[in-house]
Structures are given as C-alpha cells and as structure tokens.
Symmetry: C3
Subunit: 495 residues, 3 copies
C-alpha cells in the first residue's frame, strides 16, 4: 500500500488545475484508509477519474468543514451526518458504500462491498434539500413521463423504429432498446437493473461485476438499481462534481438543444449568452453564494432557474432550487401547447378532457386541476421578476413577461391551426389518425409544435431573435402550414 | 447617503473582474455627487448594473484623462466637452441627463430629471466621430430600411402573420406588433415612443415612469424618443460598454446568424474563427489601438470590418470606422442578388428599373446610380487588402477577393434561375404573384436567395467551407431548384 | 539591417502571448542570418505572421534542444538533422528552403531562393514519423479519394454545378473550378501547380512570384508543387504551428461539421465536449506528453484519435499517430454504409462486387479484401479501450463499443431500405439512375446516408444524444423515408 504521501504528491502535481485560493494554509482533512485503498489501485486502473476527483471540493474538504461555514456559503444542506463520514475527505469509499441494503448493485470488489451507481438517494446523505427538491421535479420523473405516457411512448417508438421495404411497401418494425438508449433515453434516463453478475478482464485479472441493463446511462431521470430516480452526474459530472460545470450553459445544452428543445441555442444567441461568452474568463464560476455583478455580470441558465443568487450587499435574490420548474409559471416546450406548469413532477398521471395524459387537449384546453393556479403563477412571476431585478427595472421585467405570454399564445394559435388542418386531412381520409406521428403530413404537424412553436416560445422567453424569425420560428410556422395545405391539395387529387 | 467609500470598497471587491494593469497607482477621478446618489439607491434596486458599470472604463476614467492620451490610444473622439463632464468618472448621471430638451422620455426621478434611453446622440457628446460614421451606415437606418420599404415590409408581414383555418381554407391575419418585436425588429430596432407616464411598484414604493411603446428593444437601428436612430448597446452592452465584448464575434453573432445572415456561423468554422477560439485566452481584447500579432493573431469580425488596427511597429493598418460597410465593395447578403455597396445607409429610397426600392431588379440589374462606383469599389478593395496584408501577401488577398466576386456571380446566377422558374409558375397561373412570399413555391424562392445564396457568398468571403458545400450552400441551391421544378410539374397535373 | 536585438525586443513584447514556463532562464538559440533577413523585411510587409511565429515553439528552440529531451517529451521524431539546421531556431529560411530541387515553386526572392509552399515532405526533415504515418492515412489522399473516384467526383460535380432555365426546363452546366475550390476541395485539398511566374505590386515595388493554380488552399490532402500530398497547416496553422490549436476540437470542426460529417457538432453536445468547454481554461493544452487527469480531464478529438497520452504515473496510454484512422476499427461516415476501416489510405483504388470504387456495394456488401480483418478490428478495439480506460472501466468501454456497432447496423438497415425505395423508383421509370444524385428523390436518398445515417452513427459513437434523436438522426431517417415513398405515390399519378 502506498502511503498517503502518494496522494498528497498528486495534490501538488495538480495545483495547476484547481486550488481554492488560500487553501494551502488550511490543513487538509485526512483520506480514509478505505478510499486510500481505492486510490492506490485506481490511479493505475482508471487514473483519469482519480485525478479528476483530486480537482473536486470533495477531495479537499470534510463534511465537518462544510458544516462550519455560514449558512449562505454552505454546499451541504444536511445538519449532521454519521460520525464515520464527518472528518475525512469525501472519497471513493464514502460515496460508493452508502445504503448497502438498498443497492442491488452492491458487490464484493477486492474485499470491499461497494456499488457502482451512486444515486441521488446516496447524495441525499449530505445534500438532502437538493435531492428533496429534485424529487418533485419533472426531471426526476423524466423516464416515466416519457415512457409511461402512451402518447409520448408512441412518439418515441415511431421515431426510432426500423423500417423495411417489403413487396413495394414500407413496413415499420419495433424500435430496439439500443435505438431508444442512444437517443431519447440518453437524456431522459434508462431503467437500469441488475441481471446477475458478469466477468470482465482487467489488468488485475478476471473480476466479477454486476451485469446492468441499459447501461451506461447518465440521463437526468434514470431509474437506479437502488430504487431511486435521477442521476446527479447528468449536470455534476464525475468525479469533479464541479458546481462550475453545472453552472455553465453548455451543461444544460447537452439536452436542451435544437430542434426540439432549443433553449441552449436561443440563450447562446441572446445578449445574456453573448456577455457570458465574452466575459467567461472573468466570472467566478464556483462562488457560493453566487453574487450578481461580482461573480457574474450576465445570467447563465443556472442563475435564472436554480442557483442561490445574492447581491453585493448580501441580500438573497433567489434561493437555490433543484426543482428546475419551481421558478416558472408557464411551460413553454415539450408539449403541443404552452400551459401553466404542472403541480407535480410526475406528468404522466395527468388526465385531460380528451382522457389523455397530456396537460392540454389536442384543441388546447388545459387540464386545469393538474396545473398550478393563477395565484401560484403570479407568485412565481414575482419570484422571477426578482431575479431580473438584479439588473433590470420591474417595468422591463413585466414587459418582458408579457412578451413571453403573448408569444406563447401566438405560437399556440399557429399550432391550433395546424392541428385543424391535420384533423381535416384525417376527416377526408387523406391520413390515418390511428398513429398520429407516422405519415408525412402528421410529421409536419409534429414539427410545428415540437420544433417550431417550442423554438418561437423559447426565443421570446430568452430573446434569441434569429430563432424567433427564420431559424425554426415564425418563418417555419407559416412555411410548414402552407406546405401542409399543399399536401392535402395534392393528396385529394392523387389518392 | 452612503459615503464615497462605499463605492470605493466595491471597486476593491471587483478587482477580480477588471483592473487595467497598473491602474492601482493612478489616482481615480471622483464620482459626481449626483451619480453617487444614483449608485446609493441602485446598488440595492438593481445591483447587477451598478457592479457591471464598476467594471467599465467609464467608472475608472474621466474625459480629461481620456483626452490626455496619445491620439492612437484615444477612445474619445471629442476634442473638448463641457466643463461639468470633464473631471468626474462617466457615471449614471453624466449619461442619463444629456440633451434634456430633446428627450421626450425625460422625467422626474426622486428629484432628478433623467431619461431612460441613452441614445447615440447622447454618446456623441464624447464620441462624435463614431456616431457620425454610424449615422451613415445601413445599421443606423435598419428600421426604415426594413419597414419603409414596401417589399421588405411585406416580407416581414407575411413571415410573422397569424394564420387561421376557416371553412377548409387557410386565412392569413395581420401580423401583431409583438410578433414583429420578438423577431425581425429585435435586431433591426423598434420605434420607441413615449405614451404618457405609468406607475410601477418598486421597493421604494409606487413611482411614475415614461410609458414606452415597443419596449424593451436594443436593435441596432432603434428609433429613439429623442429623435435619434440607433442603439450603441446593441454591441456595447450596458453598463460595462466593454470594447472587449464588441470585438468578440459572438456579439455580431446575435444577429448575423443562420439561416438568413450566417456570417457568424461561417466565420466560426473558418481558420480565422478556429484560431480565435483556440487562443482567445491569450488575446488582449481591450487594447487601443489593436495590434496585429501582439494583441491578436487572427482576425475577429471587428478587425476586418471596423477596428483601429496597427502593426507592432506602430503603423496604422486600418482606421476605426463605425460605418460597418465602409470597407466593403460588394454587398453579399440581405438582397436577392449581390451588388456594389449602396452609396448611403438609407436604402429604402433606392429606385431600380422595376420602380422598386431594391438595389437590383428581380432580373438582377443593379440600380447603379444608388451604388458605389467602380473606382470606389477599387479603393475599398485596396483598403481591405491592407487588412489582409497584416498576415497575407497581396497575391493571396487578390486571389481571395476574386474568389469572393466569382462566387457572388455564381450564386447570383443560381438565384436568377430560381427567379425564372418562379416567373414560369406565375405565368402558368400555378402561383399568384400578388404577394411573392406567401405560397410554397414562392417560399422556396425566398429560401434560395435569403438562405442559400447568402450563405454561399458569405462562405466564400470568409472561407467557411461546409457552408459553401452542404450546409445551405451549393447543395441546397441545386436541391431546392429541382424541388421547385418538381412542384411545378405536380401543380400542372393536380391544379 | 536591424540587429538581432529587434527580434529579441519583440520576444519581450510578446511575453503575454506564449512564454513556456521557466524559459526565461534558458539561453535562446540564435536566429540564422537568413531568417533574420526575412524577419527584417516581413515584420513590415506581413507583421502578423512574424509576430505569430514568435509565439511558436519553433522560434524558441533548436532541433538540438528538441533532441536533448527525454523520448516521451520529444516533438521531433528525427534522430538527426543536417548540421546547418541543428543549432538555430526554426525560422522562415530553415523551412522555406528545404528540398529546393523538388520545389517547382522555388524562386528568387530578393537574392534568396525560397519556395512558398512548405509541404509535409519538408516538415518530414524533423518530423519523419508523423509524416510517414500521415502518408498512409485517408487524409493524405483526400483529393484523389474524392476526385479520382468516379462516383464521388460525380457527386461533387452534381452538387456544385450551375443550373440554368432554358425553354421551360432546367439545364445543368459544368461545375467551375471556383465552385469546387470554395466548397469540397477547401477541406479535401486542391491540386496546386505552378504556371510560370506573375508580377505583383508590393510596398517594395513590383516582384515576381510563382503563379499557382487553385490557390490559396490548405486542404488536408492538398497536392503540392513538390509532388507531395497534404497540408500540415490544415491543423497546425501558420506560423505558430501550435499543438495547442491542433488539440482543440474547433480545429477538427472546420471540416468535420454538420450536415455531412457532424463529428464536431456531436462531440460538442456530448458530456466530453461539455466538460472540455467548461474547463478549457484549466487544461494544459501544449504539454507533451499529454497526461490524462493532469493536463486534461475529458478527451478532445485529439486524445482519442491521435495524441500521445500518458497517465499521471507515466504509463503510455496511446502512442501518437498522424494516421487518424489507425485507432479505429469501423468507418462511420462518408460512405453509404458503415464498414471496417480500409487497409490503406488510398480508397479510390477499391473495387467492390458492383465493380465500383466503393468499400461496399449499393446493397451493403463490403469489399472485404480492401478492408481490415476481424483480427485487426479487435486489435484496434483493444487499443481504443485503453484510451477509454483512463477514466472508464472495461465494462463501460465494451458496452459503449457494442452500442456503436449496433447503431451502425441499425443506421445501415435504414439506408438499405432507402436504397430499395430508390431502386423501386428507378425500376418504375419514375427516376433515372444515369446520374444517381440529381433528381429530387435521389437527393433524398443522398440525405439519408450522407446526412442522417452519418449523424446517427457519429452520435452513438460520441454520445451526442440530440443528434441521435431529432437533429438529423432517427427522426430524419424515418421522416425522409416516408417522404420518399410519398414522392413515388405522387409521381405514379402525375407522370
């Protein structure tokens, strides 16, 4: 066994990477002997993740040190943790051995019982508030909201199915697990289960490890072998877990990307995105709390949607939330029409007037009992106005919010027209509504709400002007509508 | 009232952000008592903008200090300013109270008469040369060039109009102010007028502010309540006004984006964009003058189009210009065909041989009297060759310019063919030319010149090869042309 | 003549740009008198490239110094070079005068015989291993692989040809050299030949220079006037030649871009791309060797595909290779179907069962004798698994590789269906197979393999989920397939 010195020398070698200012003068907490054993082997087996962990806060701090900070600077929301977790740095062993009894993926690994997948339920040990908030979000339920919803799961199947050509006709097959895993479920998350053990060859010889289904996956709503939902590493990637990365818009941009969820693209084109891009080297990306004007001079996604933001004089602008819809009154993307945010994160249980698990009917009527009240909407607008208020007047914010709501209505009206055109095609037997996603004219309709209306609404919300105009926005809404009508005219003649 | 010390302590707290090298040893000019009063309240009301201002040159310098610099390093082009503006830092009060008699948006705000919108005519106090140049540019006239031109305003209306489905037919409505404001006018600028006053709730109670139309807006050609045109903040965002931001390509990329003006996308893919991306941390982004090789090793948009650029030995490569077309001989985007740059910035007054306010006819004949002469074109080529000459031989530049001109002609020829195909459809009554923008085949024609030809020309001008090939360029020009012909064949049969 | 001091003072002026740590204390090697003469003139004629060269390793080191380094840190692979090249810095004259007898572009320039184009065969003097590896790559043969292959050259011609409208019909002309040079050949490379001399005007008067065809060009496979193939400057841009730039994904992104080769776009959206974007300021971009965890914490293109990568304990993870396909077992893009990597870099010599120079038939059968064996594929998978192994378990890597291979097969199957649909159209005389690229339904087929299948395969390989789903991936594969069928239905009726 290598002495602790080996790790410390690594620390020294990594000063270039991340050394909190002034940290040299503070005594570092000890590394547990178990974590040291992990490191001794893994700095050869998977050296990159050991080195990455060494750049993390976890490698430089103990829970005790975290708890000693003033409330507003704290990164741990627990008020106490078990004694054996308190004093050492937060290392491999500390995280990969929690809640053993729940972990179907716990296994013997060179004499230690560890598990592969550290889940939100494990992170909850030190970060209970964050995990509690997250558990109520749509993100935590991202797998079920997609796959337990028959409408959405039909869309997934239709998009990813293999299609053959048989006796002069297209014949659709059944979508494979692989096709879904590399596309939709890569963001939404897969259902990861343990199917016994399997042997793999390593430099240390043949070893036995749990045999996972649908693995690897870091989708934000992943169903884990310990029964929990979510994957913190979707935004806080292993093993730096850096708040800095989670706060950068590129992290959100992994999933919130054009054409269906172009939040990142729109943001990047906005003045906010422009300033952040231009001044990113000057920002203090890992300050807790995050102070407007001092640590950043224009908002990233995290500023508006979830970070703990303060003013230079120490006032709290917005509390941290890991329920990413909690500050929002209206839901702008993902569905056919915009609508008030759902009350809970589990949206596949909604039942609308069409008896479908969707927040609005195909005509646009909201399933009001499942959506937040007008009062709650106002409360959230006020909360969000506070965030804008760091730099903008309340007049500015109010007018901007009106612009969002008006644009959402205008986009919804264009979708409603498209839905009527499609219904006309169905009525004339020019298309078959059995599967509303599989024929050319239906796919144009999908593009209208999933690509074009989503884009226009987000473009108004974050001032991404090109996206409101020619890139998917207004141009495409009208262009596609007239194309749909043309398709009907032609089909009428040639059918 | 807080003492000046409060502001100075903020200065200290912001050292991380921006501290001109060596500045500590220079005595900072004073903050006027009026600006101090603004800051005292707004560091609570809108702390972000106060902190952002503190990162600006304005907050660290007086006009007197600016005037004392050698000519080539000067950021102020005025030779003198009023005494009361000379000695203090350039703060809130200094800018928000200029030319009171012109400002219809001037109002009483806690005992001070201020105005909300600081316009180019205000900035002109210290920066007259820049504003004068800008006033002759197409940018300054961006609202009128779009909305006072009946052809373009019809395009705007057609793209952003709501469309309903009524008795089995699409029925177009009238575009809303909101739809235009979030899309086209977000870049071009809105007409901002004052319609009396309105009350808003603030932490300091109910206050009265001017009631603006079409607000907020930072479009580059905005029509302001003081009668001036333009918005400096489009490129120099409030309240850092950083030259650093204006010089970064992302700033231009807010509006010059695919599919209609993909200058930013093309640049980003070019070798120039690649080097700038790779070495941006090494560049000195705010040096005045900007020295090729020393401050940057590959050009951004600003280097070629408007910055004051010098060589390491102090020679001026190009003078600063805020008329962004002044170095250009040919206009590559925005119109149906490429053509020599217009003589003036106000293009809606052009009359071509079709009697339309466009720089060429639909057949491609230029409205020569409104466009720069062959001699002026040569002069500008020579100016631009000088910029290229910082790193490239004159042989290289000349061949590159030939490539631009040849590609512009080739793109124009493809557009001309598309126009002929459309005219054929009109002649056969397969489409109605009353509105040339609203039917499917007409929209394909719009895509040809507005998306594909624009892209190909810009791709040649800035060496963005993928955009010349498959991303909107040659591929789409031919692909769309054959699709247009197919549409005619089908329409002939089914009409 | 200016003294050497002038250059040294420039060195000092450029400290901000690039100064290897500790370099100040080492005596810099001398600048040769010939290079000094170049610099004396060119710091006025083209100051940017002189300044850029001063930021290079070449300007700070001699070959002797490079040879003195430990093997793993060496940037020169030569074991010795000619005496006159050993002791001075690597300057203008050292590189622009090599192999004079081979250079058809050698000419007299103010008393010195120099050549304009420094080719891989010149770089080989000090970097023989890199050039040898490169010469076997597909990149080195990028011009011939495109233009000597009749199938591909027909695609190039069809995409870039001018099309006129003549007596109511589209009539395709012949693609110009300019059109090909600004698009396809800008990445692939042009054939550069010397056609005598030409005079150009310079500040030093009229001078004679070689008259090049198809110039300028920095395509990776450029055919040079000295008979060699390639352009090192495609990735190591003049005159910094910085390894830092070559290692940044934006460099690869100049050519590997959507819609046809969206490797960069996919990577940028992946977790790897996200981490690199977020932490790029912390990476040590020019360390040789490049150490996982210490110099970078997530891979760029270069890490996986060609860089010399080591672990913190000094083990070599992967040897450097300038044959960019050498670590890959399967070829995912550019062709109709995926297939094992070709044995050699010159792919236009392949003959498949259709007698065409393509690695598979139109039905998908591989031209096995020209492709690497199953054994070689396994060897390369193992090599690549080693790279993943810096951070991931072998279980993870293996599952990821399975996902790549499965997705490639699924994408291939969708292309095969599209090919069958097209063959059906050909069989029914609804399209003419004489040119398989020029009619609307054929262009949809091209989009299927060149845009959509390429994207889906690359999205699986680098975990760019949106690209696997809605951005060109599965969505477009099915959408386009049903559109192709619709086109056939309509054509049947209207033909």
């Amino acid at each position: 066994m290598k002495p602790l010195l080996a790790v410390l020398s690594l620390f020294l070698g990594l000063f270039t990477f991340q050394e909190p200012v002034g940290a040299q003068s503070v005594a570092r907490p000890a590394v547990s002997s178990e974590t040291q054993a992990c490191v001794d082997c893994h700095e050869n087996a998977t050296p990159g993740i050991v080195a990455d962990w060494l750049t993390s806060h976890h490698a430089h701090t103990s829970v005790d040190m975290g708890l000693a900070k003033p409330a507003v600077e704290r990164r741990v929301s627990a008020t106490s943790v078990a004694d054996e977790l308190k004093r050492n740095v937060v290392g491999c062993y500390e995280c990969h051995t929690l809640r053993k009894e729940k972990h179907l993926d716990a296994f013997d690994h060179f004499g230690y019982t560890i598990n592969v997948i550290v889940s939100p339920a494990d992170c909850q040990t030190c970060h209970p508030t964050e995990v509690e908030q997250f558990s109520h979000s749509k993100k935590a339920h991202a797998v079920g909201n997609l796959m337990k919803n028959p409408v959405y799961s039909l869309l997934v199947e239709t998009v990813t199915r293999p299609t053959a050509f048989d006796k002069g006709k297209l014949r659709a097959g059944k979508s494979s697990g692989n096709a879904k895993n590399v596309s939709c479920l890569s963001c939404h998350g897969t259902v990861v289960e343990v199917k016994g053990m399997r042997s793999i060859e390593t430099e240390a010889g043949l070893i036995e490890i749990p045999n996972f289904t649908n693995w690897p996956n870091m989708g934000v709503g992943r169903a884990n072998p310990d029964g929990s939902l979510g994957s913190c590493t979707a935004c806080h990637p292993r093993h730096s877990f850096a708040i800095e990365i989670a706060r950068k818009p590129e992290t959100c941009g992994q999933c919130h990307l054009e054409p269906d969820v172009p939040a990142y693209n729109v943001y990047k084109e906005s003045k906010h995105g422009n300033i952040v891009d231009s001044r990113r080297e000057r920002f203090i990306w890992d300050a807790v709390p995050w102070t407007a004007g001092k640590d950043f001079t224009a908002p990233t996604c995290a500023v508006c949607h979830n970070a703990l933001v303060t003013t230079t004089s120490g006032m709290v602008v917005a509390e941290r939330s890991h329920d990413f819809g909690a500050r929002l009154w209206v839901r702008l993307f993902g569905l056919v029409y915009s609508h008030p945010q759902p009350v809970g994160g589990e949206t596949h249980n909604i039942v609308n007037a069409d008896k479908l698990p969707l927040p609005t009917t195909f005509g646009g009527t909201p399933a009001a009992t499942y959506l937040i009240s007008r009062e709650e909407q106002k409360k959230r607008q006020s909360l969000m106005r506070n965030v804008c208020g760091s730099c903008h007047t309340s007049d500015w914010a109010e007018r901007h919010f009106t612009r969002i709501d008006t644009t959402a209505s205008e986009a919804d009206a264009m979708v409603a027209t498209s839905t009527q055109v499609l219904a006309d095609a169905w009525g004339r037997k020019l298309a078959d509504k059995a599967n509303p996603f599989d024929e050319p004219i239906e796919q144009e309709w999908v593009r209208q709400w999933l690509f074009h209306a989503n884009t226009l609404r987000l473009a108004a919300a974050m001032s991404g002007q090109s996206y409101a105009a020619f890139e998917y926005g207004w141009w495409e809404l009208n262009h596609t509508l007239y194309n749909m009508e043309e398709m009907i005219q032609i089909r009428k003649k040639v059918k």
